[in-house]
Subunit: 98 residues, 2 copies
């Protein structure tokens, strides 16, 4: 079962993500980041790699793509807020771009 | 070069799309449709197939995905409105789901 991040878990897991360009979404317990690639094929290649991890972990992003940018929002619907799954997927997405 | 749809082109190309569930986007010369699939893998499989056509035709959607739904907006940025490319990609996307 997923659980909402505790105050300490939140600090430990989210601070490195904020340092890496993630930010809280206004009005939601969710984090977001916009990735900018060189073109559509790079952007969609990232989405494809991230999609495989999302499906493997059964934890899916809310995301949008316009040409070479991909905007990602992560939250955990069954706990209505951020869980460790979001931090894990955020870290994986960052890894996939490096 | 892309060209804005003429009045007659607009009627001929857009009416069948409206009948197929596409609609004008409020405040923009753009069309949109939301596809609902059975799960994330079906939704992302559709996006992958559509992405290959988009890249082949050098005409890319603005789209978002939340779990099993995909919301697509089509417009032609270099003419700041709808062109025949949008109708062509819309028809292809509909074909991919049948």
């Amino acid at each position: 079962m997923n659980e909402l991040l505790s105050d300490t878990g939140r600090k430990a897991m989210l601070e490195p993500l904020f340092a890496a360009g993630w930010a809280m979404v206004e009005g939601r317990d969710a984090i977001a980041k916009t990735y900018d690639f060189t073109d559509f094929t790079e952007a969609f290649a990232f989405m494809t790699r991230a999609a495989l991890w999302a499906e493997k972990w059964d934890h899916h992003p809310e995301w949008s793509n316009v040409y070479k940018t991909v905007h990602v929002i992560l939250t955990t619907h069954d706990v209505d807020g951020l869980s460790a799954q979001d931090a894990k997927l955020a870290r994986k997405m960052d890894q996939l771009t490096t």
